[in-house]
Amino acid sequence: MIVRLRQPRREVEMAGGRAAHAVLHDLGLSREGHLIIRNGTLVPSDTMLEEGDIVEIRPVISGG
């Protein structure tokens, strides 16, 4: 699956078949600091992400 990250914008390829919170954990990202958008739809952190999904991990913390 393709995982899209922000700040800066970049894409990484990761293995599917894992829950979204596990993917966050592997990337060292906090659940409270991010939303998971799978194939254009907001999903909860326990959603299983599959091979072929396009997953956006969107940071929600702003520092201004």
């Binding site: 906090s30 907001l42 909860p44 326990d46 969107r58 929600v60």
Partner: protein, 329 residues
């Protein structure tokens, strides 16, 4: 598949502090109730008030504007063009589209056009950190325009994470004066408008989720000046605590409002300054010398324009180049 706590439909988001998942409809209901509660608990404004929303193009201010309009308030927006390179251009475009699509009134003040400087130049010319020059300019212009345009109240999009981070900073320094003044309402006072923060009961993640389910396009990328600042560090720390023990962040701040504020506050917090600036008339500590905004303007507007990249520290510059690099190189 996790289910919405309220209706059992497929959930779109988990909110650990409520130990529950919610569908799009019930997420919105939860957010609206928290805003209504903040407005009522702190007597922020009446239903017929004319509200000016300080909009930046980010999730919080656009969500706030969207909610207030949805709740039937008469709310217009004010955007300030800060001249922070592509970030500001993108923010202005997104804010304008938001207002146009909904038929809302958006006022705009452009620092460079109206005052002859932008934030990077002001930072360099006055040797302030950019956020300090920016905060000073925004406060001055938001206050002035709220009064000049005849609004009853200025509403800003500060959320629970913002307030909890400020509270953590104030507590770490034991800054009793700031702790005493940290409250979601500032009463009007000599030359200052009434100011309120209706989003203080909602987290940053809840605001972002609101924007996603409402289809609001907002600026996801951060202001380049914010990268690595102390405020962001406090937010991360609080989120780490929340990760281990969900709800910690909310109880830290909401508990402060409920239990500490009554101990600290002896009366309503009126803003005040005894004199008026001889140049612009804004409230000021002295009538002999210009106010801090006028002094900033005088120094910055005679300085040659400074590009954003020049005022970033090394780590912020690296992040900036990765984000906007090719276009601004």
């Amino acid at each position: 598949m996790s289910k919405c706590r309220s209706c059992g439909d497929a959930a779109v988001v988990d909110l650990p502090r409520h130990n529950a998942n919610f569908c799009a409809e019930h997420l919105q209901q939860l957010c609206v109730r928290q805003v209504q509660r903040a407005i009522a608990d702190h007597s922020m404004f009446e239903t017929d008030a004319r509200v000016l929303v300080a909009v930046s193009g980010g999730k919080d201010s656009l969500a706030l504007w969207d909610m207030l309009v949805d709740l039937g308030y008469r709310a217009d927006g004010l955007y300030i063009g800060l001249g922070i390179g592509e970030y500001s251009e993108e923010s202005h475009r997104i804010t304008s589209v938001f207002a146009e699509e909904r038929g809302l009134t958006l006022h705009t003040v452009d620092l460079r056009q109206e005052h002859g400087f932008d934030i990077p130049t002001a930072a360099r010319a006055t040797r302030r950190v950019p956020c300090s020059a920016c905060g000073l300019s925004k406060r001055h212009i938001f206050d002035r325009e709220t009064i000049r345009l005849g609004y009853d109240v200025l509403a800003t999009g500060h959320n629970l994470d913002d307030e909890a981070a400020v509270l953590l900073g104030n507590t770490i320094r034991w800054d009793v004066e700031y702790l005493t003044r940290q409250y979601p309402v500032l009463e009007a006072g000599h030359g200052f408008p009434r100011k309120v923060k209706p989003l203080v009961r909602l987290t940053e993640r809840e605001m972002a989720a609101w924007c996603v389910v409402r289809g609001i396009d907002y600026v996801v990328e951060e202001c380049p000046m914010a990268i690595g600042n102390r405020h962001s560090g406090y937010k991360e720390t609080l989120n780490q605590l929340d990760e281990r023990s969900p709800g910690t962040k909310a109880s830290f701040y909401l508990g402060f409002l409920d239990r500490m504020v009554p101990v600290l506050r002896t009366g309503p917090d009126r803003q005040g300054a005894p004199e008026s600036c001889p140049t612009c008339g804004a409230p000021s500590s002295s009538s002999d010398t210009a106010c801090s905004f006028c002094r900033l303007e005088a120094t910055a507007s005679s300085h040659e324009p400074v590009p954003v990249r020049m005022v970033l520290n090394r780590s912020a510059r690296r992040a900036f180049d990765a984000q906007w690099g090719e276009e601004e190189a």
